[in-house]
Symmetry: C2
Subunit: 215 residues, 2 copies
């Protein structure tokens, strides 16, 4: 198919597709003449993934390029590819190391990983983006005076461990390593708004249950 058809089928304007091609988010089509290229179903699928990452997952364009490059990197096994792809995702601002609240938060987080038994993370992933995201958030809570120690975080960590089992079961339903890595990235990013939306709905429900006035 041509650019116009790719645009129509995906709902993305030709100008935006050209922009993604320029930014190397989308691989170029197969040139059929000097001025025209042919695109296939893989391009359509990739384009839909790009839109989902950027619009729903709020991933910046340059970051999405890095994530997709890691997904396509055939020279590694799936664990390594998945790690590289998730590591490329945005993790918010890095914590302010000058702030004592950050040091305290780092201790809390390290202690939590030890207590919940994530020894892989203890060894390898303490410098990961996900760990930094956790530390920055815990530090912000400390600065505001809200309690956020290991005991408070444990139930959240245990639930995260349960969710990870469900998530990875889903991923393992796919056949090829390539499909698995793409699924892992898509599920990691797209289930995040699902989790946050459900939490806010559950809080509204619980708040209503506790605070509603009469009626």
């Amino acid at each position: 198919m041509r650019l116009a058809e790719l645009s129509e089928r995906s709902g993305v304007s030709t100008a935006t597709i050209k922009y993604y091609l320029r930014e190397r988010l989308l691989p170029p089509g197969r040139p059929v003449t000097a001025t025209q290229s042919e695109y296939d179903e893989d391009h359509l699928r990739r384009l839909r993934l790009i839109r989902a990452l950027i619009q729903v997952g709020r991933v910046p364009v340059s970051t999405a390029r890095d994530v997709l490059a890691a997904v396509d990197d055939d020279s590694r096994d799936q664990h390594s590819r998945l790690g590289a792809a998730v590591e490329a995702l945005p993790h918010g601002p890095r914590p302010d190391e000058a702030d004592p609240a950050t040091t305290a938060a780092r201790h809390t987080a390290t202690d939590l990983l030890r207590r919940v038994g994530w020894h892989f993370n203890l060894g390898v992933a303490e410098h990961s983006g996900a760990f930094r995201m956790l530390v920055a958030a815990v530090a912000a809570l400390h600065r505001l005076g809200y309690p956020c120690d290991t005991a408070h975080l444990l139930p959240y960590a245990r639930q995260a461990a349960e969710l990870a089992v469900v998530d990875l079961d889903l991923v393992e339903e796919y056949e090829t390593p390539g499909e698995q890595v793409e699924a892992a990235v898509a599920l990691t990013v797209l289930y995040e708004p699902v989790l946050l939306g459900l939490r806010r709905l559950a809080e509204a429900e619980e708040s209503n249950r506790r605070f509603r006035t009469g009626s």
Copy 2:
């Protein structure tokens, strides 16, 4: 204290504080002469909350103003204030109603609320931002061909319900309705990166457990 001291104690530049004052994120100080104002501990606390919302919670400035205005609105009870504040938070782009995947996602989400017994949400909050966020994410998963029906979402919803109990217990430790609403907003926003960070760490741990090659 003066602007310079507020800046030093909060770590926020005077230029940025002036910007927040201009944007009505921070209430003005008490004018002490024609060219100087006095700020107090409440200003410092509010400023820290603003920074946490914007930097850690990635809330846009104009949105943070609306959230804080809802927090300060003494004319409502805490349930209503909390609802207004959370509703003012960003929920991502609104789903594309022209897309059949959105219609399907809306059915899935409605069915999920019914099955998990959130009748308050079923009646009131189907037009809430959190619900739209959920629908948009489920629709994106549908478009990419990933399974995401009521059965898949149920464990996530049940966990969200458990988390909401923990969260509201924390909120109820505070005395005044004002403190409770501020705590609810801060905990809602700042626990989100905690949850996402823990999930990513748990996935890395689980992925390592399943896919690591030898050693």
